[in-house]
Symmetry: C2
Subunit: 295 residues, 2 copies
DNA sequence: GCATCTGATAAGGATAACTTATTGGAATGA
DNA sequence: TCATTCCAATAAGTTATCCTTATCAGATGC
């Protein structure tokens, strides 16, 4: 069988036009090199080297083979270089899935930090609902996802990053004392605005408020938090807003954010990956980076 | 060390996503393949395959490595294909040197014949004087030359092709009986026109006529046979012309060709190559082809 | 719970590859 | 002319590698 060793030895012969020197270069004895060259010629069924009493030269075919061999060896080196590169912590390609209620708020902080700290990392992003992310993660088309815990899949690992407190967003026209801590009961009779089906934030909000029996008849579900907040600002109702969204979304004076009374409701944000994934260390490092940018 | 085998096995794993099937494809046992993959991962210092109880998948780095490996294997196959091609009789690249008093007369017959019989042959041609050809042959920048024998270099092999009879070209105005066989003595007092220094034909002509003491004072040497013949046609003198040139050159009615008396002078045309050249068979085949086209 | 399927591991034998020492053939130089 | 030198090939023996069969360990599914 054709081997890389043969090609390497042969390229050395081409460069030195001397078996002994070529053998030195590849750190073997001259007979070892001679044998490999002989094997290569036998393998290819063709003379590559013209042996002359005092010197050697390559045949025209030999020159062509040497050219091709050099090229192959170079690509081999490229492959090794790539591997070395990819073996660094948090480098190479990582496919990260993020839920829509996090992506627009975390990425603007995360991406610059990653670029700075791990310049070799190529992040491929996908934003969709938790269920799809988990499915893609299990299938292997994603490496890791950032979502609300728990997922509780037996073959997935969960790494908590931070607690994201829920706030109540109401229209500023309501003139509520912002220092007042809201209880779930304060939502009685309010029109609770929600994201559309499938968003985990919707489910979390409902499970918190569910026992209250508030009015949600008008709720067909919005497609984004920004949309929900526009509705709040316009006085259509109230909504529950994760704190991480607050900085970005609330430039609008028509919205007032109210904190809930203790124990404050919250969602736990974390990274999830396959337990069998060999990139555990990478994901732990990514989690650390996420903690840094979310304080 | 990174080996070709590891890459081949790994690409098989990528294609089957199953160690057992991949092992079947490359015709080894499953443990053998597993070990090679393990070695490859160790060699590259990075996980390529994510082992799951029931199935496996490649890591993103693994996919990239597999892509590069496939490419390398393909080039490896190309190299083998090239070698197979080049191992055929008279195929691949051959650098042929020819002397000027042969090239224009033999090539028009030789090249079409070669193309037809050996389509895989790439002939690189060089036309210059014998001394240069021999030097380049010995140096290795030519593989074989077609010239007049003997060369009598100890490390060169000579293979005669055919005898090229010399004819005497005279001006038709001389009204000589064309059936008359010329003797060297008939050249007495003639102005013998010759090629310039270095042409073997000049030397051969002189060695044949040298003992005669003919007038050659006006001879500074022409650069081509065509030039010499123009001079003959114009009545400046006579010349000795190899028969192989006759067909091509003598469309001119102002020139009459005369045969010499037995033993007719001639030159022996042959192929010459380095005794150490491994392409002996190729050159023998080339000689055969040359005999065919020169009858 | 048992059969089945996965890849990993273990042990032993075959093969390949390397080492040093030597040979053979040609060129060099006294 | 003959000894010397140079270079690659060859020989013999050891080492390392690779592969095989057999077995294991974990997970899955009937």
């Amino acid at each position: 069988m054709l081997t890389f060793k043969q090609l390497r030895y042969f390229v050395a012969v081409q460069q030195h036009l001397h078996f002994g020197n070529a053998a030195d270069e590849v750190c073997v004895s001259q007979p070892a090199l001679s044998m490999q060259i002989r094997d290569l010629e036998k393998e290819l069924g063709l003379s590559l080297v013209e042996r002359n009493a005092r010197s050697i030269r390559l045949t025209p075919s030999g020159e062509e083979i040497a050219k091709r061999a050099s090229h192959i060896l170079r690509q081999m080196q490229d492959l090794k270089d790539y591997a070395e590169h990819a073996a660094l912590p948090l480098s190479g390609k990582i496919r990260l899935g993020i839920i829509p209620s996090l992506a627009p708020y975390i990425l603007p902080k995360l991406l610059p930090a990653l670029t700075k700290q791990y310049p070799d990392l190529q992040l491929e992003l996908r934003e969709t609902l938790t269920a799809s992310l988990v499915s893609e993660l299990k299938h292997g088309s994603l490496d890791v996802i950032l979502a609300a815990l728990p997922i509780e899949e037996p073959d997935l690992e969960e790494e908590p990053i931070f607690e994201d407190q829920f706030l109540l967003a109401v229209s500023s026209s309501r003139k509520i004392d912002e220092r007042k801590r809201m209880g779930a009961t304060d939502l009685h009779g309010e029109n609770l605005l929600l994201l559309e089906e499938g968003h985990c934030l919707r489910d979390q909000t409902l499970s918190f408020c569910g026992s209250i029996g508030q009015n949600q008849s008008a709720n067909l579900g919005a497609t984004s938090i920004a949309t929900v907040l526009h509705m709040v600002a316009s006085g259509y109702g109230v909504t529950v807003l994760p704190e991480i969204c607050a900085d970005t979304e609330i430039a609008d004076e028509r919205i007032t954010l109210l904190r809930f009374a203790e124990p404050q409701p919250s969602r736990r944000i974390g990274l999830i990956w396959r337990k069998t994934s060999p990139r555990n260390d990478d994901f732990i490092a990514l989690a650390e980076c996420l903690r840094d940018v979310t304080n």
